[in-house]
Subunit: 447 residues, 2 copies
């Protein structure tokens, strides 16, 4: 059995590497370590000091430019002028809390909720995806009266105390509480003969729910990132989630769709990734790209669930739903629409996957290309042994950095290149990336 | 025994009041309720639709102006142009996460840490005070190996699952876990003969710690808001916290200073309220005024505590410490310095308390005036019965609203006017407020 390598520990600068890097950067790293501790994580063997970014491109302190295939937060493009303008104008006018009324918030709430199925008509504004998932867990336990939560093996849902309990990939010493059960990621290649992925995934949920029931916890929720980002990106076949949702409902639990990473049109065909599966979650959590970098997030749910939550607790979030967040959020929705970013994600995502398939023909290490829209994964496996080729991915990431491409890894073994550029990613960007990736992999091919 | 009225339930619009308010406002309230639920709290019997704010003043949709004696978030003044400018310039340039280096963050970290005692040299950036307190609780438990937390009876420290457990004032149905013990607020009027407040408060902590020890939990931390905001504002005598900190250390626990409300110079004499007590906490949490409304917060601690935390968990906060937050935070520090806001808080806070004392001479309902700098409380008690006069405070708050003053309440019974304007509060503002408060109280005086 392969030892688990936590994905968050991948692609990081190691402290004792300082000797090998130039004086200016080393001095900057020392300042970071002095204030944020030596465990403060920096990307790459050679960390990067960034100074500016626009659209899909970032520039470092030496003037080097990088195509951003990593950051899903500045989703409509780095430093988007319309978003900055909306933020500035509102900040000059009014920024306060939701104990007062301000129409910018009502306008935004209604516009955002319009992208959801009718039943999901209520919203709580928060500041981070972690805060949203923390609320979702409490809601699930309140409405079901149960404790157990089912998540995937390498799930990551955030960083509060409660959310860390359901985020196995964030633990340095793997230890989940007994009321958290993990199931395998929905990998279509692990199916027994004659069983569909939908059936397999639903059966895994059933077994976990049975085990939680016999342990006396019951199943409060099935909580999944709807594209299974940290598990390694699993998008297909469309609809495979439906059976699992039915099962959790049969056990009296709710289904929480974590859309923090795949939401806001990233998967191209729909605004929300759960829609690809033809399901309606009980609770949806949003975050990262919601404000294109402005700290904002939300929980979307049905009125009956919100009412139960409000009956138990007085929830108030100082910054959540403030007028600046609302103005920023509205500008993001407008940019997504006006610039046709869903269509762009579909079109250029497909173009990208086609290009990746071409590269795969010459690279026996690539064992799978998966994804939807502009959230994609490329899995690397040792051609002979068949196991995850984590070192190849690590080397590729660092070589691509030197070639001007920022990219990350996913999966329990970190052997999946995680590809998720801003949604304004163009065909030219795709060509640049594919060219660099092809060259880097050619250079690394065993001779 | 008086029944506990949760403070957060005070001063709120009640849903069935819609009939009594004008059509435009009623329609706005209905929109809010439709999206955020009918339990979404709005201030005042007549909620206010705000449209703009500058300095210490806010303006509603009818053009009415209000002196803001409530909001401690826009601490250097609503819509401060220097803060907005810093935010805009940085947002146009670069906004990304801390896995990259950017000097604006190192500059800000160093400037902020300079305001702390030398031992407190490490920082984790977060987005909300709740996230900071959630981390502080985890750190405390990790470094001590204990579970118990000691807080004051009406404490509020935030809204995550873990932090709600130590926030008795946020519970609608009071039920604390067995590992959370509450102690009385440090009220100098409740002392047995011959005992100082420092001795009484330390003894209360000792009793709570003993009880946690005998229950098998031990004491991980004493966690207090250093000005005891939600308990009703207790600032004096200077130094009274020192004995309690000694006691928690004797029991092997840490002292967490929650500076989310009293920090960043609000108390005038010092940057941090704990400094008034001549103590050095093990962990300090920051929030609300840190970005003058931009969602940002932090945990400050010693390197040994951060190292233990990092050893257990991989903490990453997507928005925390981003370049825009850093630029905003730096501009707030600069404005506090350049505009002499600590001195202003000291001077005009004193002026305010003197004016309140004059009003108290003619108002037998005022039983105490407490506070430091621009964080003050005025307690109202029934002159005959001696109990908390919550209705008088509620009426006063709503009358002041009609007179153009925004103000809130604190304390277990909500009978304390909580006075905390932005730090740019002027003597003219004080005169305006004192005049209005005096008139309102005269009008309400029993005849």
């Amino acid at each position: 059995m392969t030892t688990k390598t936590p994905i968050l520990g991948l692609n990081r600068f190691e402290f004792n590497d300082t000797q090998s890097i130039d004086t200016q950067l080393a001095s900057h790293i020392r300042r970071r370590h002095r204030t944020q501790g030596e465990n403060s994580v920096l990307f790459y063997k050679q960390p990067i000091e960034m100074v500016s970014a626009r659209g899909t491109w970032m520039t470092d302190s030496y003037g080097n430019r990088y195509l951003d295939m990593y950051n899903n937060v500045p989703s409509v493009g780095h430093s988007h002028p319309r978003v900055v303008e909306a933020m500035t104008q509102q900040a000059l006018l009014l920024n306060t809390n939701t104990r007062y009324l301000f129409s910018v918030l009502e306008n935004y709430s209604e516009a955002l909720l319009e992208t959801f199925p009718d039943d999901l008509s209520n919203i709580i504004f928060t500041c981070t995806g972690s805060e949203s998932n923390d609320i979702a867990l409490r809601m699930a336990r309140m409405v079901t009266g149960k404790q157990g939560i089912i998540v995937t093996e390498n799930a990551y849902h955030g960083n509060t105390s409660a959310v860390m309990e359901v985020s196995p990939s964030g633990h340095k010493r793997q230890q989940l509480p007994p009321y958290v059960k993990t199931i395998a990621a929905p990998d279509p290649r692990t199916l027994p003969m004659g069983i569909s992925l939908a059936e397999k995934f639903a059966e895994d949920v059933r077994q976990a729910a049975l085990s939680l029931e016999s342990a006396g916890y019951g199943s409060a929720a099935l909580l999944v990132d709807t594209i299974f980002s940290s598990d390694g990106v699993f998008a297909d076949p469309v609809g495979f989630l439906a059976g699992a949702v039915e099962v959790i409902h049969q056990f009296g639990g709710v289904f929480i769709a974590d859309e923090v990473q795949p939401g806001f049109g990233r998967t191209g065909s729909h605004y929300w990734c759960f829609q690809r599966h033809g399901i309606v979650p009980d609770i949806v959590t949003l975050g990262k790209p919601m404000g294109n970098g402005y700290p904002m997030s939300a929980v979307i749910t049905r009125p009956d669930i919100l009412a139960t939550f409000n009956d138990e607790t007085e929830y108030f979030n100082t910054f959540g739903g403030n007028p600046v967040a609302a103005a920023v959020g509205m500008s993001v929705l407008n940019v997504i629409k006006d610039e046709g970013l869903l269509e762009n994600a579909s079109r250029n995502g497909l173009y990208l996957r086609e290009g990746l398939s071409c590269i795969a023909r010459d690279c026996t290490s690539i064992s799978a290309i998966r994804g939807a829209g502009l959230f994609n994964g490329v899995e690397f496996t040792c051609p002979e042994a068949g196991g995850p080729d984590t070192p190849l991915v690590q080397t590729t990431i660092n070589r691509l950095r030197d070639e001007g491409v920022l990219i990350g890894a996913a999966g329990t073994f970190g052997n999946i290149l995680k590809i998720r550029s801003p949604l304004c990613f163009s065909q030219e960007d795709a060509d640049f990336f594919l060219d660099k990736l092809g060259r880097v992999l050619k250079g690394l091919r065993p001779t």
